[in-house]
């Protein structure tokens, strides 16, 4: 893996970009960029597994990311006992009711022979179950939401370490992907794209409006962390010693003891932020490398070859006796699980869950640009895409500011056009993304690091 030239390109670009930002801006910015790049890389690898390995076009990335984010709440937030005692029973009953509806539909679908009205009957059951569900759950939901509406108003979670939520998010996403895949995967490519996009819209609507579950648009803030807090670091003996050791040359130049202590304090505060981000980076790097390792193993295994065969010629693969439907469903679940994992990572890193921030442009199409730009079917390509695209996404605003300043230098400060352009600096990133995607699709349709097929 290490000898691979793509591996070298990928990780040297990553290091160079981080160091450049670190030198020219600040190490805090560089590390937070690195962290988001690593999370993006995980998302891109998830999409790449579906699109690059199997040719499944999934525009529902946003939905799976939100489910991963929801998992962090369900796992890490302490439960709200009052809410549980007020409406927990009602929610459990309605959950059982939902399970009963699903099973009855499945049983009807399986046991009753094909009849003209069977589909209508199933449809009728589903339609009837929605108001019934609302009738059963309604009172408990309003009870839960009324308890401490300003601070909680939801059921809370399981109060476990947040790291578990990454795996729970992955499992939840795989389950949802199973249902979505059963419904949508039979569709042709462009229908699949549209329907997954709409399914993700439904998922976001549910996460946004079921306040008893996720607090909805009221957001959940102050989530737990898998790494130490800045405040704790600033008060711990070993950390101060560490900072003193690293900055000993700078400190020894200052003779006045008071000044020395105030400088040390300042250094401790800034480096505690950097240290926390560094811890996150290490964890994320481990995740990226683990997923990369297994994904490369899988790609070069007989299973990977079979997936490529299915992607390149479905009919031939079918004729060879491969179960295309089953493999498609499996890989859809696998890819979605990785996306969900990344979604939980993202919420953990941010420390807050804001359902209204999930928008298709940022959380679906941007990830797709990463995969297409980096190289479809190549894991290193996906990682590189995640890095480069996130770097452009972050740095295009300062870059646009620079360009605008150069071109409007001769205009005075109150010029209407100059003011307007300076206000619209954040939107230049969309322009960059669009142009980048169009150029890559035209001149390097296989991406920056194209797929390499090892023939043995």
């Amino acid at each position: 893996m290490i000898n691979n030239s793509d591996f070298k390109i990928c990780f040297s670009v990553m290091t160079v970009l981080t160091i450049l930002v670190g030198l020219f801006q600040s190490w805090g910015i560089a590390l937070s960029m690195l962290n988001l790049c690593l999370i993006s890389a995980v998302m891109a690898m998830g999409v790449n597994i579906q699109w690059g390995f199997a040719g499944l076009i999934n525009f529902g990335v946003m939905g799976f990311l939100a489910i991963g984010g929801l998992a962090t709440i369900l796992v890490s937030v302490p439960p709200v006992p009052e809410a549980w005692s007020a409406g927990g029973l009602g929610i459990l009953i309605s959950g059982l009711f939902l399970v009963a509806v699903v099973f009855s539909v499945l049983i009807i679908n399986k046991k009753i022979p094909n009849h003209k009205y069977k589909n209508y009957f199933i449809f009728f059951i589903i339609i009837l179950s929605i108001p019934l569900l609302k009738f059963i759950a309604g009172p408990s939901i309003s009870k839960i939401e009324s308890i401490n509406a300003a601070t909680s108003g939801f059921l809370g979670g399981a109060n476990l370490p947040i790291i578990f939520s990454w795996f729970v998010g992955a499992i939840l996403c795989a389950l949802v992907a199973f249902v979505v895949g059963k419904v949508c995967l039979g569709l042709r490519s462009d229908y699949l794209a549209i329907s997954t996009l709409l399914v993700s819209g439904i998922i976001i609507t549910i996460v946004k409006h079921e306040e008893w579950l996720s607090r909805g648009v009221k957001n959940v803030i102050g989530l737990k962390r898998p790494v130490p807090y800045e405040v704790d670091l600033q008060n711990s003996e070993w950390f101060i010693k560490l900072v003193e050791f690293f900055n000993s040359s700078k400190l020894s130049n200052i003779l006045d003891p008071d000044e020395k202590i105030s400088l040390l304090n300042q250094l401790v505060i800034t480096s505690s932020g950097v240290f926390v981000k560094l811890c996150f980076s290490l964890i994320f790097l481990v995740v990226v490398i683990t997923i990369l390792y297994f994904s490369e193993k899988a790609l070069n295994s007989p299973w990977g070859r079979m997936m490529r065969a299915i992607r390149d010629n479905e009919e031939a693969a079918k004729a060879m006796g491969k179960n295309v439907v089953k493999q498609h469903l499996f890989i859809f679940m696998l890819g979605s699980a990785i996306i969900g994992f990344a979604g939980a990572m993202l919420v953990t890193y941010d420390g807050l869950f804001t359902p209204s921030s999930y928008q298709p442009l940022r959380y679906t199409f941007l990830i797709w640009v990463m995969v297409l730009l980096g190289g479809t079917g190549n894991n290193y390509g996906a990682i590189l895409g995640g890095f480069v695209v996130w770097f452009i996404w972050i740095q295009s605003a300062p870059f646009a500011l620079l360009v605008i300043n150069i071109f409007t230098n001769h205009l005075d400060e109150t010029n209407y056009i100059k003011e307007h352009l300076l206000n619209s600096v954040p939107y230049f990133r969309y322009l960059m993304m669009g142009l980048g995607l169009l150029l890559v699709m035209r001149y390097r349709p296989k991406g920056l690091l194209p797929e390499k097929i090892i023939k043995n």
Binding site: P131, S195, L198, K208, H209, L437
Partner: protein
């Protein structure tokens, strides 16, 4: 009297808004379906094309207003519409020449087209936001109401009012005019027939001497007209915000597929179906039942199928049901 009241209630809260929203969706969906039928791909940039057209209309409206030109009782935007349409056509043809033509000549697969249209979506998104900003803009002027709820109550002596905004009537009339011209064009004229022939079977159309370049050009012109008109009508009725236009792409796609992708008449009905189910299923019928039921049976709950938060989700759910049971749409798709 109670019966009349209940009818007026439904008209005011379901039928009038449903027809307005349905017309806007229908115009948008016909555009998407035409691109799909003739050029054979799902255009994700369509919502932003609508936003672009509307943006030009708004800019021209502001210009006209600053010169003191208005359209009397009607909104000034209608005067600005031709300019908006013209510039949208220019932009569409520009993107077709620089981007889509290359892939059409290469006969790329539909997914490549979708990806490229995503690129254009990003670009248009940025252009609109850079030029006019991301904020809500209300550019409706002229006479606001044709009939106010209070006036209606005084006129008829009923408890329930019926408000009729001028934008709603304008939307309906514009849609009727646009759609009649379009369907006349597609079904009766020679050029329209050649367009349908091209959509039905490309090779056979080429053999019959139909010029594909002319058909593509014509499609982009019609699509740009539809996008600008639909966008402007939506903006007049509600307000203009680039993000909403992007979001409206989703119900438009739903309407297109529900009606059978590639089938303009299906898209037209699909738009109304989506609009009426969104509004009809999220409306609280409590007051309605209060009027028509005897007092003893007065309902205690809101009698709402699903809360208004799920308005968008309804159109998506309808789409998924249609995709499972009738993947080709309710009306047979793939031919215009």
């Amino acid at each position: 009297m109670d019966f009349l009241n209940s009818i007026i209630l439904l008209t005011n809260f379901i039928i009038v808004p449903g027809i307005t929203y349905g017309s806007q969706l229908a115009l948008g969906a016909i555009g998407v379906t035409l691109i799909y039928g003739v050029l054979r791909f799902a255009n994700f940039a369509y919502g932003d094309l609508m936003a672009f057209g509307t943006m030009i209309v708004i800019l021209v409206t502001w210009f006209l207003q600053s010169k003191g030109i208005t359209f009397g009782l009607l909104p000034t935007a209608l005067l600005a519409l031709p300019v908006g349409i013209l510039l949208t056509i220019v932009v569409s043809l520009f993107f077709d020449k620089t981007v889509f033509e290359y892939y059409r000549n290469k006969k790329s697969d539909p997914v490549t087209f979708i990806v490229v249209s995503l690129g254009i979506m990003f670009v248009l998104n940025a252009v609109v936001r850079i030029i006019i900003g991301p904020n809500d803009i209300n550019f409706m002027d002229g006479h606001k109401f044709i009939m106010k709820a209070r006036e209606f109550k005084q006129m008829t002596g009923l408890n329930e009012g019926l408000a009729l905004k001028s934008t709603q009537v304008i939307t309906l009339i514009t849609t009727i005019i646009t759609c009649s011209i379009l369907f006349y064009f597609l079904n009766k004229t020679k050029t329209g027939k050649s367009m349908r022939a091209y959509s039905n079977n490309e090779d056979l159309a080429l053999l019959s001497g139909i010029d594909p370049k002319k058909i593509v050009l014509l499609t982009w012109i019609i699509v740009s007209i539809l996008a600008t008109v639909a966008g402007t009508l939506y903006g007049l009725d509600k307000s203009f915000k680039p993000f909403t236009y992007f979001n409206n792409l989703l119900p438009i796609f739903a309407a297109t597929i529900v009606g059978g992708i590639g089938n303009p008449l299906g898209a037209f009905y699909g738009g109304f179906l989506i609009a009426f189910s969104e509004i009809g299923l999220t409306y609280a019928y409590k007051k309605f039942f209060k009027y028509i039921m005897p007092d003893v049976l007065e309902p205690s709950t809101l009698i709402q199928f699903i809360s208004t938060d799920y308005k968008f989700a309804i159109s998506f759910a309808i789409l998924i049901v249609v995709l499972i049971f009738r993947p080709n749409g309710i009306f047979k798709g793939k031919v215009i």
